[in-house]
Amino acid sequence: MIMKLSDIKPGGKGRITAVTGDAAFQRRITAVGMTPGSTFEVIRREKGFPMLISIRNTLLAVNSEDCKQIETEAE
């Protein structure tokens, strides 16, 4: 089932299936390692805060609105 990254609860793991949004956003987000195919775990999701995501051994804070542009599927 395809879900937006922003809809995944803390502790949820999955795989990125697509990164949408404009080209500049796509370039920025892939440069930190969030590419289709990569697996991740959502560490924190609080209203008004960026999401915390663990991916490729890195803890990333990503603007929560931007997480709506990342599509994922459960592992």
């Binding site: 080209a23 796509q26 892939t30 440069a31 890195t58 803890l59 609105e65």
Partner: protein
């Protein structure tokens, strides 16, 4: 003449500046990339009989043309100015940080790879077979710990070798592109000159075009099949995620079998669970910010005390010089003007030192990213993102430090915007003056109310200012949300922190001293009178002549002068007040204000007798919202590389300050 030119390329936090600083020591030069508002760091070092030039390229996550930093980096590499590019990666986050290497692959300039943070990586239980990686890449790969001096011999040895044949083998990556894009790739590449264009290989150009890189279109501009190539690549959708996928596939094939590790846990440490939680994390961040502020003052205290004590020398020195028969004007300039300038500058330096050290420490251990995470929501309301919080925090102590710490922001517009907004934040000296005057006129409870009022207007000011400058400073494309790594915690590097703090302090001193000296000498001349009576000075004549105008804003000529004097240093206005109401020499009082502010009953009595409450309130607001001192202004020019913008913003602040005091004054007249 250097034997070799080297450039350092790497993502933020890869340890580039640690390496650069260790290699060059004090042989550094900070300049500007031609035509760009990006800082250029160049240095030299020698080892054995060889001399090297080294350029520290801006830390960016990729070589996409997203920002000036990345464009500068790319252009520099393409210009062929460097004989060797050293690509820095973080071995503790190997896969992710090799993205820079993958983005570089296809650029035909000799390079080598440094795997930094090997100590951290070892601690994590990870083993990396660098020889294997080196064979696969066809370039030297050096395991490294930038913070450990024992690492450097091996690097010097490599640099002695002939690097002209160190070309990164990008064959696997080209294959990945071919697999992912099929005939689109092969067609586009076959239309390009076989050897690529300049230093860029066809595959590299293809990936950039697929990612929608506008600058890359210019690169193929001279190519005869340009239109056809553009037509092919413009059909590609989601280019960056797809090429990104290829790059990571390639990275995995390069490090596959060369890295063994224990499976790390992605769970937050106990501390991070607190540090990133909504309520607890916010309380912690505020507490640490407050602690940092107090810590900065304590560290800077010796210098601040020294600066504060200096003006006391003025009187005896002046008497001595007068006895020797020096001209009174000269004595006044020397003992009042220049001495004050030096004293103020030294005091500021104390704080700059303390703040650079303490906030540098917070950054160094990795906690600053957590603060940015916590305050991202607040910063977003101002059109910025979480990383911009640092200039605001530091500005509570001193706006010079605030301007300097805007360097953490990745693009120029955001940097200028953060500086412009951080000027609203009152520095420690501003608080001192506001507290004194407000208490004198309105009592403790009234002072507290006044401060609440100031804070409320500050919030409004921030919002208005972000709207006024937002459009022209930050392009729509630069209004990016936070994407930031929360690095693992590191042990601080005390030595480099100390040297950074000393460097920043020296920089601030050098920039400030001249400008402050000139201004204080001018004020000194204006307020000089041969009779010793202020009524015979130019400042009195000019001030009383324009008083009818300034009164419209609620400012009497004395408070107006004090408002102007605060440009020199915020404490300066206390001195001006003391002098103008005491009718003594202005500069003496300005000079002594830092050590003994308004302790003089005559002055307070004269003040409360002369100024009405609305006038006092008007002054407090005008003073609080005035532009920062000239030292902070010059620091801002330095950081923004734009005198024009700094002046524009300063002019805006001056107008806003008068506007606010005007409104406050006329409202207050209705009450009192």
């Amino acid at each position: 003449m250097a034997d070799m030119s080297i450039a350092l390329l790497g993502q933020p936090n890869s340890g580039k500046s640690t390496l650069y600083n260790r290699l060059t020591g004090s042989h550094q030069h900070v300049g500007n990339w031609p035509g760009k508002t990006v800082e250029k760091n160049e240095g030299t070092f020698t080892h054995g009989s060889h001399t090297y030039n080294i350029t520290d390229l801006p830390g960016t996550y990729s070589l996409a043309a997203n920002s000036d930093e990345e464009i500068v980096t790319r252009d520099f590499i393409a210009s062929g100015s460097a004989d060797l590019i050293i690509i820095m990666s973080d071995a503790s986050q190997l896969e992710r940080s090799l993205f820079m290497l993958a983005d570089y692959a296809g650029i035909n300039v000799p390079c080598m790879l440094i795997l930094n943070m090997m100590d951290v990586s070892k601690e994590m239980g990870r083993q990396i077979d660098t020889d294997k990686i080196s064979k696969r890449l066809g370039i030297p790969v050096l395991p490294f710990t930038a913070s450990d001096k024992n690492s450097y011999e091996a690097l010097y040895d490599i640099l002695e070798k002939d690097c002209s044949s160190w070309h990164l083998d990008a064959g696997g990556l080209e294959q990945a592109y071919a697999d992912a894009f099929g005939s689109t790739y092969s067609k586009a590449v076959s239309l390009m000159p076989e050897g690529g264009i300049g230093v860029y290989s066809p595959a590299w150009l293809f990936s950039k075009l697929a990612e929608g890189d506008e600058v890359a279109k210019n690169i193929i501009g001279g190519c005869e099949n340009k239109d056809e190539i553009i037509k092919i690549v413009s059909g590609i959708e989601n280019g960056a995620p797809r090429t990104g996928n290829c790059k990571f596939t390639w990275i995995e094939s390069i490090i596959g079998g060369a890295v063994t590790e224990k499976k790390g846990s992605s769970a937050l440490s106990k501390f991070d669970r607190l540090a990133t939680s909504k309520v607890g994390g916010t309380i912690l961040a505020v507490a640490i910010a407050l602690g940092a502020f107090i810590g900065s003052v304590i560290l800077g205290y010796p210098l601040m005390a020294l600066g504060g004590a200096l003006p006391a020398l003025g009187q005896p020195l002046a008497e001595k010089l007068l006895e020797e028969g020096a001209h009174p004007l000269l004595v006044s300039i020397l003992c009042e003007g220049i001495l004050t300038a030096v004293a103020f500058t030294i005091m500021m330096c104390g704080y700059i030192f303390g703040a650079t050290f303490v906030f540098g420490l917070i950054e160094d251990v990795g906690y600053m990213a957590r603060i940015s995470y916590i305050f991202d929501g607040a910063m977003k309301k101002l059109g910025l993102h979480g990383k911009a919080v640092m200039p605001f925090l530091v500005s509570f102590g001193c706006n010079i430090g605030g301007a300097t710490s805007s360097r953490v922001l990745d693009n120029w517009g955001q940097r200028v915007m953060a500086i412009a907004l951080s000027w609203v934040v009152p520095c420690a000296s501003t608080w001192g003056v506001v507290g004194l005057i407000a208490t004198l006129f309105f009592g403790p409870a009234g002072a507290a109310l006044t401060i609440l009022g100031l804070l409320a207007v500050s919030v409004l000011h921030l919002i208005i200012t972000s709207k006024v400058f937002g459009k022209s400073l930050i392009k729509e494309s630069d209004r990016t949300g936070l994407i930031m790594e929360l690095p693992p915690y590191h042990k601080p590097k005390w030595g480099s922190l100390l040297s950074l703090s000393l460097t920043r302090m020296a920089e601030a001193f050098k920039r400030a001293i001249a400008i402050v000296t000139i201004v204080s000498v001018v004020i000194c001349l204006l307020s000089y009178s041969s009779t010793g009576n202020i009524h015979d000075s130019i400042i009195y004549k000019a001030g009383s002549a324009i008083e009818p105008v300034t009164l419209f804003f609620g400012l009497r000529w004395q408070t107006f002068t004090a408002w102007i004097a605060s440009w020199m240093g915020k404490e300066g206005s206390l001195g001006a007040i003391a002098a103008l109401f005491n009718e003594s020499s202005v500069m003496t009082a300005i000079a002594q204000s830092s050590s003994a502010p308004l302790d003089n009953n005559i002055v307070s009595a004269a003040l409360s007798a002369t100024l009405s409450k609305p006038e006092a309130l008007a002054f407090v607001f005008a003073f609080y919202f005035n532009m920062p001192c000239l030292m902070a202004l010059s620091a801002s020019v330095h950081e923004t590389h734009s005198l024009k913008w700094t002046l524009k913003i300063a002019g805006y602040y001056v107008c806003m300050s008068l506007l606010i005091s005007c409104i406050v004054y006329h409202l207050a007249l209705l009450i009192w």
